[in-house]
């Protein structure tokens, strides 16, 4: 016969163990979720720090943390109106203050691309997973070929690193990834430095019809971009500018330097809730270029004028001979300041990168400023430290 006390003991044991079990399960569940989220935050923060380090120092580095925790979402959003890049993951967003060309992947290789304007260097951090960039130059005029080579020069150089970013050509249904020993002894896929050794062919290649597996991105250079199957397509440039297209998009994107090509190639025709990645990177690059180079031009113009005035003051004071080489720097600084003012004005317009006339004028003035800066360096006004 079971006594009332024994029944009480059984019920009591059941209630207590149920309570303890519930507490443990609930706490363990919420603890593991918190840990996953905090790990995701740490990974995003690490990525931001590394991208900034690579951007500022120019030292490339692999980044494998995204494979440590599963991210159901990893994408790049461009914050308007500033144009900053935001890496978006399940847990939230990380906004970067530096320009970033990002292609999602578990393991990334981060490098820096540089556009040398003489008086200024514009850098972009590039984060890419294992990628084969397949170029399809149907048009091989000297300007198109040099644009293509310049764009490849600005892509990541992964020699000695994993994952790899390699290059190949597509001619019809054939993909060529090694070029008769040009890409090293073991006929590996061509890394950037090896690919840049390839000479310009006499005739253009046929439209690429090869099926490109995952991890391949296609860039076509053609007069007619209407039937591009994937990736970005570039019409031949005319006086340094031209039109580009993205497969699947009806829009036309104006390019005015090789970095525009790089943005469109790395983004390509991938699309997500934020739109076409190629279009987003192209917009991001031009916004960041406008902000950074605009400020740099304004600051360098003021610097040039201040130094010109200081030189003039020294000549007037009698400290510096009027016919000395340093006195000649005054006019060069003033001329540079004037051209940089025009660049500042051009870049201050939000849509400077969408009109042929404005980007052509900008390119002309950028070339003029570069030549003037070289003149200052050659004359010894801007000593190289």
């Amino acid at each position: 016969m079971v006594s009332a006390f024994q029944v009480f003991k059984m019920l009591f044991g059941l209630i207590i163990s149920g309570f303890v079990l519930y507490f443990l399960v609930f706490y363990a569940g919420s603890y593991s979720q918190t840990q996953t989220e905090s790990q995701q935050v740490i990974i995003l923060k690490n990525f931001e720090d590394l991208a900034k380090d690579v951007y500022y120092t120019g030292n490339p580095s692999p980044f494998g943390d995204f494979k440590r925790v599963e991210f159901s979402m990893l994408s790049l959003e461009i914050r308007e109106p500033e144009g900053n890049a935001q890496v978006v993951a399940d847990i939230g967003k990380v906004t970067l203050t530096v320009p970033l060309f990002f292609r999602p992947g578990d393991e990334l290789f981060i490098d820096r691309a540089t556009m040398d304007l003489g008086w200024w260097e514009f850098h972009v951090a590039e984060a890419m997973p294992e990628t084969k960039v397949i170029l399809n130059p149907m048009e091989v005029g000297p300007e198109s070929w040099s644009y293509m080579k310049e764009a490849v020069r600005m892509m990541p150089s992964s020699i000695g690193f994993e994952p790899k970013v390699t290059f190949g050509l597509c001619d019809g249904d054939v993909i060529v990834e090694d070029f008769l020993g040009l890409c090293g002894p073991s006929s590996d896929p061509c890394e950037k430095e090896y690919f840049l050794r390839i000479s310009r062919p006499d005739t253009g290649m046929s439209r690429c019809t090869a099926q490109l597996p995952e991890g391949y991105i296609l860039a076509t250079i053609a007069r007619d971009c209407s039937n591009v199957q994937s990736g970005a397509c570039f019409e031949p440039p005319s006086v340094g500018t031209g039109n580009a297209h993205i497969a699947g998009s009806t829009k036309t994107y104006l390019y005015h330097d090789a970095m525009d090509w790089v943005a469109l190639i790395i983004g390509g025709s991938r699309s997500d809730i934020y739109g076409f990645a190629g279009e987003n990177l192209w917009r991001h690059k031009n916004k960041m270029f406008g902000t950074e180079v605009g400020l740099a031009a304004e600051m360098m113009a003021e610097r040039a004028r201040m130094l010109a005035t200081a030189i003039e003051d020294e000549v007037n004071r009698g400290g510096l001979l009027p016919d000395s080489q340093s006195a000649d720097c005054k006019q060069l600084y003033l001329d540079l300041g004037t051209v940089l003012d025009v660049i500042t004005d051009a870049l201050s317009l939000d849509d400077y990168h969408t009109a042929f006339a404005s980007v052509r004028q900008l390119n002309e003035k950028l070339a003029e400023a570069e030549a003037m800066h070289n003149g200052l360096v050659n004359k010894g006004c801007e000593p190289i430290t």
């Binding site: 006390f5 303890v20 918190t34 203050t97 510096l320 340093s326 430290t385």
Partner: protein, 170 residues
């Protein structure tokens, strides 16, 4: 019969006491884990804050906006940037400020943002009187017109201290 009833009551009392103990232990565990979690979060917060400061310092030391070469600031660039706080914020991020002072003179002579002056020795960008955290670092400043000779101008490198800080959010 009475003894049996008493033993039963004693048993129930024991179980009640045990329950109280278990409850106390569980509550203590909850408090302990919560406290531990809060202290971890606070530690992480202060670590993120100092990492952020370090990252800002690194950005300034490498940014071509301020420097001529690695860790060598350009005095004319610093002078030109003094009046462009809003635009500097767009590039470096809001709430960041920069101060540079050369060490050759003890007295602080602020530089005029519109005029190059070789005799000034203190530049401040986005500096205002507000609570902040900052890091300091010895650096070089390239003085573009460091030595003016009759035959030409030579640059000069001065030792300086850079202070890069972030204002505390209100």
């Amino acid at each position: 019969m009475k003894t049996k009833k008493l033993a039963g009551q004693m048993g129930i009392m024991e179980y009640m006491l045990m329950t109280v103990f278990i409850m106390v232990i569980i509550v203590m565990l909850v408090f302990f884990f919560s406290g531990w979690q809060i202290s971890q979060t606070q530690m992480q917060g202060s670590r993120v804050k100092s990492e952020n400061l370090l990252s800002n310092l690194k950005n300034v030391m490498y940014s071509p906006l301020f420097i001529r070469d690695d860790s060598m600031f350009d005095d004319a660039k610093l002078t030109a940037l003094q009046g462009k706080c809003e635009k500097v914020k767009e590039v470096l991020g809001a709430d960041v400020f920069i101060e540079v002072k050369t060490l050759e003179k003890v007295a602080e002579i602020p530089c005029d943002p519109h005029r190059y002056d070789i005799n000034c020795n203190y530049w401040s960008i986005c500096r205002r009187d507000a609570p902040h955290s900052a890091l300091v670092m010895p650096v070089n400043v390239y003085r573009n017109m460091g030595n003016v000779l009759a035959s030409g101008i030579l640059g000069r490198v001065d030792l300086a201290i850079v202070k890069v800080g972030v204002y505390e959010s209100q």
